[in-house]
Amino acid sequence: MLMYTLKRLLQGVVTVWFIATATFFAMHAVPGNPLTNEKAVSPKIWAELQKRYGLDKPLLEQYGLYIKNMASGDFGVSYTQQNRQVNDIITEHFKVSATLGILAVVFAAFGGILWGALTAMYRNRAPDIVIVFLVILGISVPGFVFAAFGQLSLVKVNDWLGFTLFPVAGWGTVQHMIVPSMVLGLGTMAFLTRLMRSSMLEIVNSDFVRTARSKGLPMTRIFRKHELRNAILPVITVLGPSIAAITTGGFVVELVFAIPGLGRYFVQAVQQLDYTVIMGTTVFYGAFLVFMVIAVDLLYGMVDPRVRLE
């Protein structure tokens, strides 16, 4: 298990290095350089800026410096807000995005497992049909539509109640977090429900559940110890990609609900072509996702003994 963990971590580091390298050369493959778009500036200021961002050095030296800085966790200075460190931006805004994302993942995973198990238990009866219909809807509706309608219905609900049950936008209190994270997790929840349902249907008819029944175990125990635990396995394997999907979806939800998260900042940086922020955030997100996938794989190893001793 230890060797496996170490191996996966090493692989993760290599992947992050690859992302960082690809990002660097992708950005420098662009004709001109990132400062070309700056408004007309005097040659002196131009040279000053060039120097400040290290753009006057040869490419390989820049690359070496970049990797060195990355490794020590320094992402440089923002182009558009020249007094801000990219690190500060990430540390300040990622907290918000991470909170939102974690809530959404938890909501999606628990919801998916619960609804999936429920549909399998009521197979082809009313609850199953209703949930399967909602799941198909959930998979087919884009995230930003959920976000928009989530906000719209919040406005209506608050209007109807006559007071603000959940704020329509912004961040800060628990009330701010609930609706955006639910909206963010909805698509993934639908996907996981579907997966859990087919997994449950397979497990319920499996030989070992029949064995458990032949042992005369109570229904609740069979469900807990035999069905649920095995049916969850495929759900865990897709949790990694789900986290990636939720991260991307977070950009939209942060935009719609005016949440000061890193995703919204990233989209802004993209629109303003703030290269250091784009590069820093990309590598940061890349690393985050790579290590989340590793964490999920290790978690899987803990649940499924067959992987543990690989």
């Binding site: 998979i139 884009p142 928009a148 991307t248 996702l289």
Partner: protein, 463 residues
Amino acid sequence: MTTNALSFEPVRVEREVETISRPSLSYWQDAWLRLKANTRAIVSLYLVIGLLLFTVFGPWLWQVDSSAQDLDQISAPPGAERAVTVVDEYRPWQGATATPVAGAGGELQAPASLSVAGDATTRAVRLQWSAAPDAGGYRIYRSIFDTAPDGALGLPLGDVLDPTTVSFEDRLDLQPLTYHYSVVTLDDRGREATGYTSVPVEVTRVITAAQAHAKGLIDSADVVRPGDVLKLQMHPLGTDYLGRDMLARLMHGARVSLFIGIVAPFAFVLVGIFYGSVAGFMGGRVDQLLMRFADFVVALPFLLFMILFRILFNVQPGDNSILPMMVAMVVLSWPAVARLVRGQILQIREEGYIGASRLLGAKTNYLVLRHMIPNTMGVILVTLTFAVPSAIFTEAFLSFIGMGVAPPTPSWGSMCNEGLKTMLTTPHELIFPAAFISITVLAFNLLGDGLRDALDARMRATE
């Protein structure tokens, strides 16, 4: 039952000869039969065909310019009132004046009365009010909501800083709605008093004969007289915030969205097939190396490359980036397909029938054409069907964050993006494109499910 009824005479039973009672079906015939039995998949197939017809023949049948603005009908929901009254040419209004009233001091009062002078039309709403004591001027507000519940007055239209003037003419972007006008008294230093006077005004839509002629509603400006009622141009699904016809935009948007949604998956599936089959055939070290590289590509951030390709294709902010979007999709989405195809090839290579065929002297070309390709086709077709909705989602997502299709080119994603801004007042601008995206994605998903069930029992969902 009595024993007398029994006869113990031996009989010869005709042994049933085992025959093949059904004509044998080819793989695709069998798949088609199974698909036909799946109602959901067939309905989805018709939906997909319908969407394609809508996209290809729609603009031909509904010949409305998708970028033409109908300024008389802005953000009109479907089925909105289209009647318009013909009026005379506009004549300027002198307004109303009053002698300033000296007050008894104390707090400033709002005007005692507020009324509309003449007809309230989309051309102009003329307000007049009674002078308030000690007033230094007035400020006029307009709101589409009733001001009563929360005292929010809405949009400040203008200030009248002359206490003798007690009238105001509103000509700002009037729509045929009920507006709530409010007047607040200002003191001589321009500060607002606390009270306000408010009046609801129902605005009727009007047009001059010349305008009607210019719009093509009538053949000649002479055929109508003031007071006649005409019908404005029809928009079956309403108009957007710039007065453009939604149906025409949805049709043109479908061309963009479905083009991206179908061409991009085709391209990356082809790349994936090529890469995956090379890896699968070569095997060994080459396979290892190729697949390791694919693993890395999977980890690459999509948005970054989207930005990169925008720059490479010299797309300025606010420009369309359909080509960079498709290139980014192809460059980053093939590894999943490659992995799948490689797995299939590796599996098929070990199958007995390949060995048998080879023993009979089959050449590699024959093996590939006769066995490998037909046996991976099912999986590839299913992957392609599922890739379409995800490409449509990607287009919508990118257009939504302003990196994909940019205005004025319509695409379903960019229409959603625009519709979001007016979601609270005119939700149809968001609902229609969102519904089109959802229905398309739904149809492709269900069709994919059906195809998977029909083509490949191994991949069959328990559903």
